[in-house]
Symmetry: C2
Subunit: 216 residues, 2 copies
Amino acid sequence: MKKIAVLLSGCGVYDGSEIYETVLTLLALDKAGVAYQCVAPDMEQYHVVNHLTGEPADEKRNVLVEAARLARGDIKSLSDVNPDDFGGLMVPGGFGAAKNLSQFAFKGADTDVQPDVLQFCQAFANAAKPAGYICIAPTLVNKVYGGGVTVTVGNDADTAKAIEAMGGKHQVCEVSQACTDEQHKVVTTPAYMLANSISEAQLGIEKCVQQVIAWA
Amino acid sequence: MKKIAVLLSGCGVYDGSEIYETVLTLLALDKAGVAYQCVAPDMEQYHVVNHLTGEPADEKRNVLVEAARLARGDIKSLSDVNPDDFGGLMVPGGFGAAKNLSQFAFKGADTDVQPDVLQFCQAFANAAKPAGYICIAPTLVNKVYGGGVTVTVGNDADTAKAIEAMGGKHQVCEVSQACTDEQHKVVTTPAYMLANSISEAQLGIEKCVQQVIAWA
């Protein structure tokens, strides 16, 4: 079985990848005996948020460099990897998915997906390889697949409406569950869109990872 | 049962708290139904390491602000907490424990422990409350307890020698196990001193957390 690519967007819930979601994703893959490779786009972060105050900071950071923290240095730039080398894709959440990988946080349904991210994710879609998107990352899915994919972000009505506006279908889902679109081999789970604790987030993320492995 | 304090030193293996060790600690506490509070000293990091290249970066970051990433913003400064409010202590590893909480990475057995960190950790020692130190963090223990504590950092001979020079005893330990000093209620585990994977690190960390909970 080929490695699973884990696409990161920085390191920290407010400006990058959600740390717990990422670690729980890697843990679930590793416990299943499945090898993974963290990857990230080499680009400047939209902004840096001071996670103590919640306020933007007057700093610049690079998505790939900060994502390397989450990968203990074992990460590759999107420009240095070939999607053919991977059997499936996982995209953890965190605002980085909606601020760096796309502009969903600012533009809603009018968002674009960052070009190299779009190309990478579409390679999995076009090859009918499975993909799991977590938390707010499912807002990328219908831009990647050109619509028609059923996803969940939990029960947030505004985000659900934006997903429908992008041609997708939104399914309400509990934090402990995952939403499966068999036709597109896309699985999504709410995680910290709903989770009140790290162990709550783990339940859905494990289901998400197990579904990607089952398809891969 | 009172909350467990989780003492952080930044966010990232090379200049702060090891991310996986921290998340696995929080996960083990949460799965056991035990509440926790992340805390960190409000101080400048010794340095910032670019985790992509492994090289120091020309930047300044604050330990508390970066540790807040690991806590999803839910963190308190050491100066704003009272050790009396906690039933036990967990200290994940990462170079931050040996570069920010102490200077062990540079001074070996001649290290000091950062004064407010020393005071906080000694409050647990003096009250005979349990403490778990992970990875390289056990190098702090004998400075905190004034010697005589048996700890492990796995099987690294140089670090073991430095621990003995600080008045401690070093016990060789596998990554899946934890080293218990019943007299001082101190438990330690090698984690990423030895771990080849995140699920390997989880085994010892779970034992470490469970021992602290059993004592608390």
